[in-house]
């Protein structure tokens, strides 16, 4: 999964696995110490019909909706500073919260997130990007 930052796409192949947005690697490493973080499995570049898709960053409305759902699930006050960059683990999400958040997003957006993809979501932005990609696939 890649996000377009500015005009360039960052891709860092890592022995067969694909890691998104390498400029945020340090962020990935500071994910919660407990397994309550959603983490990155190796995303294999699959040949055949699954062309690697480049998605643009999600619309602000989508990010906003995700923020709302996250705040609700984690019982954060409405005015708390949750943005696209917020990492779920840093907001206090444990593994159960993560599953619930993904389900909340599925319901809200009418999409279905596979477990495999759910693991790639570390920030609110990641979730919003994935949602838009899935919506696109659904409608397209």
């Amino acid at each position: 999964m890649a996000s377009v930052t500015g005009a360039s796409i960052t891709m860092t192949p890592l022995s067969g696995s694909f890691k998104a947005n390498s400029s945020r690697v340090s962020g990935l490493n500071s994910v919660s110490l407990s397994a309550h973080a959603i983490c990155f499995p190796s995303l294999k570049m699959r040949p055949g019909p699954y062309r690697f898709q480049v998605s643009c960053a999600a619309k602000p409305e989508t990010v906003e909706k995700v923020c709302q759902i996250v705040k609700k699930q984690l019982a954060l006050p409405d005015d708390s500073a949750v943005s696209g960059e917020s990492k779920f683990a840093a907001l206090g999400a444990d593994s159960l919260d993560t599953v619930e958040i993904v389900m909340g997003l599925e319901e809200e957006f009418g999409i279905s997130v596979e477990e495999e993809s759910a693991q790639t979501i570390a920030t609110v932005q990641d979730a919003a990007d994935l949602i838009e990609k899935l919506i696109e696939k659904k409608d397209g």
Binding site: N29, S30, L33, A35, H36, I38, C39, F40, S42, A90
Partner: protein, 286 residues
């Protein structure tokens, strides 16, 4: 080898630091840990847990390995699993590794000399917002049908949640031991037990004899699960950090059957003392 089998737990509700105390404790940790504690977490409680978690890691490494403070470098894999860099463990600890967990009032750490170790603390209270059935339903795909039956037929809501959380924490302990994220296919990781003792796991129907599991009650409605198992199941990114992943049967057996000590309480004050004395060791050059 027993020396490297450690189980420490801190009740964080007993530590209420002033900002000065907090930063003073923080200063005992290497600089690269500071920002991940202070700026990553939104809630103060989470920051407190994160700080104590790191204090536990550095204190334990120092206690077990005797490593001078300045030489302890703890990093995290991509999936977030902490490991010790530039491992200076003596030969008797072929694979010194550790794992931490924090939830509610507790932060805990466990270490092992040879086997992988993973742990998970859980606590729960009955939701005011939704029914127990509604709550657990969201997670049904993570359980095998046997486990699910055991959960929903456990009796009262309290019993159901109890069973649910115990199974969940065992799965988490396993996932954390191997250094994965929230692994998919957890419905194939099926736990068997006799009243929550003699716990073993079957993966895809195959009993994993090289893995052992325990559940302990901590009080205050908190439980902790512990997994001990074979390094060859570690995820690639974590396997790379291990010294040794293949063992002959005898050697591995020794590691697997080491006594599983119970969790010993530590106060934050004790951790701070350990780290202070670690800093005073020769070769310091901060």
């Amino acid at each position: 080898m027993e020396k490297a089998v450690q189980r420490w737990i801190v009740d964080i509700s007993k530590w209420n630091p002033t900002p000065h105390d907090f930063y003073s404790a923080l200063s005992l940790l290497p600089l690269h840990e500071h920002s991940s504690i202070t700026s990553s977490f939104m809630k103060q409680e989470d920051r407190k847990r994160a700080l104590i978690s790191r204090l536990l890691q550095y204190a334990l490494v120092h206690k077990v390995l005797g490593t001078p403070h300045v030489e302890i470098t703890i990093k995290r894999t991509l999936e977030g699993k902490p490991y010790l860099e530039h491992d200076k463990a003596p030969q008797e600890f072929p694979n010194f590794n550790f794992n931490v967990s924090h939830h509610g009032d507790y932060v805990a750490i466990a270490s092992e000399p040879l086997c992988l170790v993973g742990l998970d603390i859980v606590s729960y209270s009955i939701s005011q917002i939704e029914t127990t059935q509604e709550f657990i339903q969201d997670f049904s795909s993570y359980f095998s049908s046997l486990e699910w039956d055991n959960i929903i037929n456990a009796g009262t809501d309290d019993n159901i949640l109890n069973a649910f959380y115990r199974y969940w924490s065992l799965k988490e302990a396993y996932v954390k031991a191997i250094g994965s994220g929230l692994a998919f296919g957890l419905d194939k990781v099926e736990f068997h037990h006799t009243n929550w003792t003699n716990i073993y796991v079957q993966i895809d129907g195959v009993t994993m004899t090289e893995w052992r599991f325990w559940l302990f009650e901590l009080g205050k409605r908190h439980w902790v699960s512990l997994a001990r198992g074979h390094p060859r199941l570690a995820t690639e990114s974590y396997k790379r950090r291990l010294k040794q992943t293949e063992f002959n049967e005898e050697e591995y057996g020794m590691g697997l059957h080491l006594p599983n000590t119970s969790f010993g309480s530590r106060t934050v004050g004790q951790l701070i003392s350990v780290l202070c004395s670690a800093k005073e060791m020769p070769k310091e050059n901060e």
